[in-house]
């Protein structure tokens, strides 16, 4: 990693075949990307949330219900188990039977 090009040897290349940039240039690119990323997530998105009422409402709801929208599978989301329990409670009679149209 970061090996300097030796005289007489072909210049190091990236995996896509392009010539490898020098280390300072690559570090600059990383810093620029990090600054843009941090700016987007730490400045722009919080500003957007504060400025748009519906986004602010979302933030409050997520906090209130403790929902993580980034979770993708049902076992990762607590509200699914709660929903299942609620529907079971609502659709099944006290004696455990269900009306014929349910199943």
């Amino acid at each position: 990693m970061f090996a300097p090009a030796r005289v007489g040897s072909p210049p190091p290349r990236q995996r896509n075949g392009d010539p490898m940039k020098s280390l300072p240039l690559r570090l600059r690119d990383l810093c620029v990307a990090l600054v843009v990323g941090v700016g987007f997530f730490q400045i722009f998105l919080p500003f957007l949330t504060r400025s748009v009422p519906i986004l602010q409402e979302t933030a409050v709801l997520l906090e209130k219900y403790d929902i993580d929208p980034s979770r993708y599978y049902y076992t990762d989301v607590r509200q699914v188990a709660e929903g299942e329990a609620y529907l079971r409670s609502a659709l099944v009679r006290p004696d455990g039977t269900t009306c014929s149209s349910l199943h």
Binding site: L27, I67, D68, P69, S70, Y72, Q79, A85, G96
Partner: protein
């Protein structure tokens, strides 16, 4: 030789016995099933099963007696139900051990250190802050319980024959349940504990090096080369979890998986991924093992959770949209890659990231195609999570219909719950349940895609593929995925709802397979990022065809799901909607 025999493809691929211990697919199955076996033995063999059975039976007897006594669910009925819900196998010594050593960085708002370490003083401060809200909620719940008991006693005094008194008691009991839930949520916020995840993360990294390194060595690659670079892959994964746990990032649905890809790509495309890290980027091994473990969470018994309307909304519309979108992609949009087409179609119609992972692995899609599909899904999920409930509210759509629509169309389950919460508790429950039923479909989807690819896509033109060739080509890990799903579905049904919840859902899955499945997928995304080139990725997006496909497919999904939800919940089964 007959024409049919001439058309059978000559078996190019070969299967050997040594594949069982040298091929990635089989190794993923063995590793996945080793984890499943350990979880099952720990929770069933040495776990609290014997202790749970009499408790569940006692609670069931109370519920039976109460059901015979009153025409509504009484306070005692719900108390017995709560007693059953408290039974969690993951509360055992093994469960606590596994949970402790597989912890991922937690949530935080302003200080990233909070994701790893919380001192006693910090925990105490949080508890003190949350205590007034908890005390208020607890007092309200107590008050609601007293009112419910009184109303029930009045109804009982009238021998439960006065419908007005019965309805009033039922309503009071419902109010108590709502207040009790609020108190339970408030209690959680006032019961914060101190933690330090750093030693656990170091231990977990070493554990992963051993289990995956052994697999890599069996595949004939260098264990040491894998071990050396794995620290970087693990570090990127931990950083991805850290960034995904930040409040704003979570709010926009940008989780650890997305951060893994982004961070990895950032490194790979700026300073460059060091060559010695690449042998550790075992993307397919991580994904396939994670998918075998995911099989344990694909329980077919779940599909009846909301009765027939749920089946129609989730299991009739979804495959129709999937197939139509794929055909549209091939015939009209002319997608350059069939694998990208099917991954986007499955991602958009089934359940987002998890479906994309399963389908991509089943049809051997390229990692850039998986990345692109997930990226599209993330963007549209973030938009739809806000726009769909806002639209539903604006047009005054009924809560249940809105919930079913959200559940059938928004990709990620967490975003579905968030969008449903906008409309109210009932909408959130319906939406989340519809999504759960859809989630179960990924097993069938992965199997059908793998089979279709073997039979139709990868065959030579005008040739019939023989059964041996199908076997050679078929991605074997899909069989492990399905086997895990069938095994857990059978156990789930055999144990019955309550014991299965205590031992499978709250035991072998939440206290075992799920913990590692999450890590394996996160590792695979970090590895994808570290080995992906921006330019290669951009090539797949050329002409914006993936975007057009997603938009067309999602538009169809929105229309069909709304129509089906309305027909099922309001025309065919209105009594179910009334009961919800």
């Amino acid at each position: 030789m007959s024409q049919a025999e001439q058309n059978i493809v000559v078996d190019h691929a070969e299967s050997r016995w040594s594949d069982l211990w040298t091929k990635e697919d089989y190794l993923a199955i063995w590793l996945g099933f080793l984890i499943i076996a350990v979880s099952l033995v720990a929770y069933f063999g040495f776990g609290p099963r014997a202790e749970f059975v009499p408790k569940i039976e006692a609670a069931a007897q109370i519920q039976e007696a109460e059901a015979a006594r009153a025409p509504f669910k009484t306070v005692a009925w719900y108390t017995a139900d709560d007693d059953k819900k408290k039974l969690k196998a993951s509360s055992s010594v093994f469960g606590k051990f596994v949970s402790h050593w597989t912890k991922k960085p937690g949530s935080w708002k302003n200080n990233p250190v909070d994701a790893f370490i919380r001192t006693e003083a910090q925990a105490q401060a949080l508890n003190v802050k949350a205590m007034p809200a908890y005390e208020l909620a607890r007092d309200k719940a107590k008050e609601a319980l007293e009112l419910a008991r009184t109303a029930e006693a009045v109804a009982m005094a009238a021998a439960f024959v006065d419908e007005g008194l019965n309805d009033k008691a039922g309503a009071m009991i419902k109010d108590w349940r709502a207040a009790d839930k609020k108190a339970a949520d408030a209690k959680k916020k006032a019961s914060q504990k101190a933690y330090n995840y750093v030693p656990g993360l170091i231990g977990l990294c070493l554990f992963f090096i051993v289990i995956f390194g052994a697999g890599v060595a069996l595949m004939g690659k260098s264990f040491m080369a894998f071990a050396k670079g794995f620290f970087i892959v693990f570090l990127v994964t931990v950083l991805a979890y850290l960034l995904g746990g930040q409040a704003i990032s979570k709010q926009y649905g940008f989780g650890a998986e997305a951060w893994g890809i982004l961070l990895g790509m950032l490194i790979a495309n700026t300073v460059g991924t060091p060559k010695w890290v690449l042998p550790s980027c075992q993307v397919e091994f991580f994904i396939k093992t994670g998918l075998v473990l995911l099989g344990a969470e694909v329980l077919f018994g779940k599909i009846m959770a909301i009765g027939l309307p749920g089946i129609f909304v989730a299991w009739v519309v979804t495959p129709a949209v999937l197939v139509t979108t794929y055909i549209l992609g091939q015939k009209v949009i002319k997608m350059p890659s069939k694998t990208l087409n099917i991954v986007i179609s499955a991602d958009m119609s089934v359940c987002g990231t998890s479906a994309a992972i399963a389908t991509a692995a089943a049809c051997r899609a390229k990692k850039e195609e998986l990345t692109l599909s997930i990226g599209l899904s993330l963007v549209f999920t973030a938009i739809m999570m806000i726009a769909l409930p806002a639209f539903i509210k604006a047009v005054g759509m009924p809560e249940i219909l809105g919930g079913a629509w959200i559940g059938g169309t928004i990709d990620s389950t967490g975003a579905v719950a968030a969008a449903g919460a906008f409309l109210g508790d009932k909408a959130m429950y319906v939406a989340a349940t519809i999504k759960m039923i859809q989630n179960v479909m990924i097993g069938v989807t992965a199997f059908c895609v793998a089979l279709y690819w073997c039979l139709r896509v990868e065959r030579d033109a005008c040739k019939i593929v023989g059964p041996i060739e199908i076997w050679h080509r078929f991605p074997k890990f899909v069989l492990g995925f399905l086997a895990a799903s069938i095994l857990f579905s059978i156990i789930d049904t055999a144990l019955g709802k309550d014991l299965s919840t205590a031992l499978i859902d709250q035991g072998a899955v939440r206290g075992g397979t799920r913990l590692l499945r999450g890590w394996f997928f996160a590792l695979s995304f970090a590895a994808i990022g570290l080995s992906t080139n921006f330019r290669e990725l951009a090539r797949y997006f050329k002409g914006g065809k993936p975007l057009i496909l997603y938009v067309c497919g999602q538009s169809l999904n929105l229309c069909l799901t709304l129509i089906m939800a309305y027909v099922m919940f309001y025309l065919v089964f209105p009594e179910i909607t009334a009961r919800i």
